[in-house]
């Protein structure tokens, strides 16, 4: 029995303690193609992928590889059959070298049964060369950029003869240049006849590299077809199941008064000589690649890692934050790029996360007033359209978009005037993205303003009134009006 499909999953069902997460999972992957798996947060994509990888067991349905029915009960079994997954969640061993990571668990041996380091080194060199990757086999993995680590994971997948590679948001943590490297690696994988299941919330990427698409919504297969046959608008409305307003709901208007001035800010080698001004009612975009110093600059402005050069003035008065507390008192709020790592207490409830930065407002003489805490939290559930069964729900159980809204709620609760957003929509689905954009416009009114960094070009172009471009720790240019183009951003940043 032959099949035109590398992988064909049909009728996959899965419930978690009685709650259905996947009702009808369906995916047909052709060899030598990139297949976009599309759906909002909670559509059941991750459940389907985890089932394909053998991480969780399916309740019903069939999975066939090249026509043969298969069932994997562990990722190891899936890997043996040729399915590999590359995601942010898969942790490599940072203290070991590139070569050791690639051959982890199946190191070449000498006749005495010892690890044959020379053979391992040689095989790694050949492998990296075949992928045109410029990495040293003995480099410590922990010293590499996230993008390079992903490349190592891809090399590892290929060395294991994987011909089905699942990529879950592979570009969410890497910059423009690294994305290009990833795409050319994907191109080479296609030539070898591999099939790639690609998940991303970034529409531009899907249209660039995907051949086929499958759309899921609410745990159910909706439709699939060739990427060339579906336009952007129909793709988004099918994913969401409804018509959408304009993507970048931008209606803020910069005023004349300057809210914040920064003059010659610098810290160590992270960034130097950064000067800027931010007006009331303005959304100021900061664009730069990973490691360009943009996040470090925001850290300094928030007092998390204070600047050692330069000065800042808030409405004319000196502003020298030594701790986040100083910044918060001055009216700053900071949504970091890593919401799991530095934004949320994952095991705590929505309520406790929302009031984390403003306990004093719901406490009296050190005692927390829980009804006041509930009253403080509930309005944000409505205002930001947070989907939750109750304010006592642990944020770990929420989707990425809803978690991001909880972080926003935490900072709104502090009544900030300057909201700093680092990658505000990373790992957030299309619907929630729009809600966040609309919220940004709403926030940047009157005497408030937003400082936003992003590596997603359409977002920077769509939401910013002005853009400062960071390159190697310095501002390489400022763009506004008609200069705000993708070409200019790329030119100034690289």
């Amino acid at each position: 029995m032959s099949s035109p499909y590398l992988l064909h999953a049909e009728g996959i069902r899965k419930s978690f303690s009685g709650v259905p997460a996947l009702l009808d999972g369906h995916l047909a992957l052709r060899p030598g193609t990139v297949h976009a798996l599309c759906g909002g947060n909670g559509a059941g994509k991750s459940t389907l992928l985890n089932i394909l990888m053998g991480i969780i067991e399916r309740d019903a349905g069939t999975v066939r590889m090249k026509g043969h029915e298969v069932t994997f009960n562990s990722p190891h079994a899936a890997l043996k059959a040729g399915i590999a997954m590359i995601s942010q969640e898969l942790e490599p061993v940072p203290e070991m070298s590139v070569a050791e990571n690639i051959y982890l668990g199946r190191e070449p041996r000498t006749r005495l049964g010892l690890i044959d380091h020379r053979a391992m080194q040689r095989q790694t060199c050949e492998l990296l060369a075949s992928l045109e990757l410029d990495l040293a086999p003995d480099a410590k993995l922990g010293n590499l950029s996230i993008a390079d680590m992903q490349m190592v994971e891809i090399a590892r997948a290929i060395s294991q003869d994987a011909h089905i590679i699942i990529m879950d948001e592979p570009t969410s943590a890497i910059g423009e240049r690294e994305t290009e490297l990833l795409f050319s690696a994907i191109g080479r994988l296609k030539q070898r006849g591999a099939g790639i299941i690609y998940v991303s919330h970034r529409m531009n990427e899907l249209y660039r590299i995907a051949d086929d698409y499958t759309i899921m919504r609410d745990g159910t297969f909706i439709e699939s077809g060739a990427m060339a046959d579906i336009d952007r608008h129909r793709l988004i409305t099918t994913v969401l199941g409804k018509e959408l307003d304009e993507e970048y709901a931008k209606f803020n208007r910069p005023g004349d008064n300057t809210l914040l001035e920064v003059d010659g800010y610098g810290r160590g080698s992270a960034f130097q000589q950064v000067s800027l001004h931010l007006k009331c009612g303005e959304i100021l975009g900061i664009f730069g690649l990973m490691g360009s110093g943009r996040s470090e600059f925001l850290d300094a402005l928030f007092g998390a890692a204070p600047a050692d050069h330069g000065e800042a003035r808030l409405e004319g008065s000196p502003y020298h934050p030594r701790h986040p507390g100083d910044a918060m008192r001055a009216g700053f709020a900071y949504v970091t790029e890593d919401r799991k790592g530095s934004g949320l207490v994952m095991d705590a409830s929505i309520k406790r996360n929302v009031t984390l930065a403003s306990i004093a407002d719901v406490a009296h003489a050190g005692l927390i007033n829980e009804s006041r805490e509930n009253l403080a939290t509930r309005p944000f559930i409505d205002r930001l359209h947070i989907k939750a069964s109750s304010v006592d729900m642990p944020v770990r159980q929420m989707s990425g978009g809803n978690q991001q809204k909880v972080v926003l709620a935490k900072w709104l609760q502090t009544n900030p005037r300057i909201l700093m957003l680092d990658e505000p929509t990373r790992g957030v689905d299309v619907g929630a993205k729009r809600e966040i954009y609309a919220f940004m416009s709403e926030f940047a009114q009157d005497d408030r303003a937003i400082l936003m960094t992003s590596s997603e070009i359409p977002e920077v172009l769509g939401m910013s009134d002005r853009v400062l471009v960071f390159r190697k720790g310095r501002i390489s240019g400022e763009l506004s009006g008609s200069e705000l183009t993708q070409e200019n951003l790329v030119r100034l940043s690289s």
């Binding site: 909670g42 991750s46 918060m328 984390l356 729900m393 929420m398």
Partner: protein, 330 residues
């Protein structure tokens, strides 16, 4: 999984999530385990349920209980305090040296000195961990040895006995038929429960254990909270020192060796995660009681103390194992 939540949720939150058997067990599993243990022991030993025996169990657990409460605060912040046994011994020695039957220092001075000794050593732990980023395991391991050394130096290796009757009341007295150590333990427990449940400080203890970076960026003074939990553990070691010296009528330089293990065991059996941020003081109470009841039951059954250690160790591992399987099934 994240999927399940948004599929079933309505945009407006209403009421609490429904409770099923699994969540009931995870909330009250330790209580059930404790009750089962008591029922079994009352069947196999007719003495177990006697009022005297039960009071005896409570008296025996109160010292470990006080230590375990301090330990819960520390472990909730992702820390550990290995020095509790030694700090307790040092505090006992300092207090006892001012509580001799012949000398007349009253009751207040030895109490303050005992608590103060614990507070000072605990604060050193806290300072080094919070300010100089010494890993808690290393710092308190060092303090375990240093405090023991101080105890021997201070006492010249000799026990201090013949303590004043006022002082002995702390360990042997009764109020309304209840032993004083039990009352002290109960008081500390209620304060700790209230602190963790209702105060901003308690909230911060959970938050910095759950995610120190997010807490710091939310304006929480992580260093101060971290310092405080070690200071709290220290002062509770001081209290435990007063209790043990008064109960045994002497301060012994070798008192409290390996007490940190029982305190950590009680916290872990009580369901508090060593990874920080998760756990409840009520769990620690039952952890303390379970260890106490096992010791008592095996005593009543005439099982040798060698076997008691074996059983206790096995129970710790089983308790954590059950906790793990609950987490992975969730």
């Amino acid at each position: 999984m994240s999927q399940s939540s948004s599929l079933t949720s309505s945009p407006v939150p209403k009421g609490k999530p429904s409770h099923n058997l699994a969540s009931f067990m995870s909330d009250y599993g330790i209580v059930i385990a404790f009750i089962v243990l008591c029922v079994v022991l009352s069947v196999v030993s007719p003495y177990f349920l006697g009022v005297n025996n039960l009071l005896n169990v409570l008296r025996q657990v109160s010292i470990n209980g006080v230590l375990a409460i301090g330990m819960t605060f520390v472990i909730l912040t992702r820390g550990i305090d290995l020095s509790v046994g030694s700090v307790m011994a040092f505090s006992a020695m300092v207090a006892a040296s001012f509580a001799g039957a012949s000398a007349d220092y009253g009751l207040i001075l030895p109490i303050l000195l005992g608590l103060g000794a614990g507070l000072v050593l605990g604060s050193i732990n806290g300072l080094m961990v919070a300010r100089f980023a010494i890993p808690p395991f290393v710092m308190t391991l060092g303090m375990l040895s240093m405090a023991r050394g101080l105890t021997y130096i201070y006492s010249d290796g000799m026990p201090i006995s013949s303590l004043s009757s006022h002082f002995l009341w702390l360990g042997q007295g009764m109020v309304a038929g209840i032993p004083v150590p039990v009352l002290l333990f109960a008081t500390v427990f209620i304060i700790a429960w209230f602190t963790l449940r209702y105060t901003a400080f308690g909230r911060y203890v959970y938050a910095i254990g759950g995610n120190p970076t997010a807490s710091r960026l939310s304006g929480i003074n992580v260093r101060r909270i971290t310092f405080s939990v070690y200071a709290i553990s220290g002062i509770l070691c001081g209290l435990a020192g007063l209790m043990i010296a008064a109960r045994t009528s002497a301060a012994l330089p070798q008192a409290g060796v390996a007490y940190e293990l029982d305190a950590i065991a009680a916290v872990v059996i009580g369901g508090t995660s060593l990874a920080g941020g998760k756990g409840r003081i009520i769990g620690t109470l039952f952890g303390v009681l379970i260890i106490g009841v096992i010791n008592n039951g095996l005593d009543l059954l005439g099982v040798s103390s060698f076997y008691q250690q074996l059983v206790k160790g096995a129970i710790i591992v089983i308790a954590v194992m059950l906790d793990r399987s609950r987490l992975t099934n969730a």
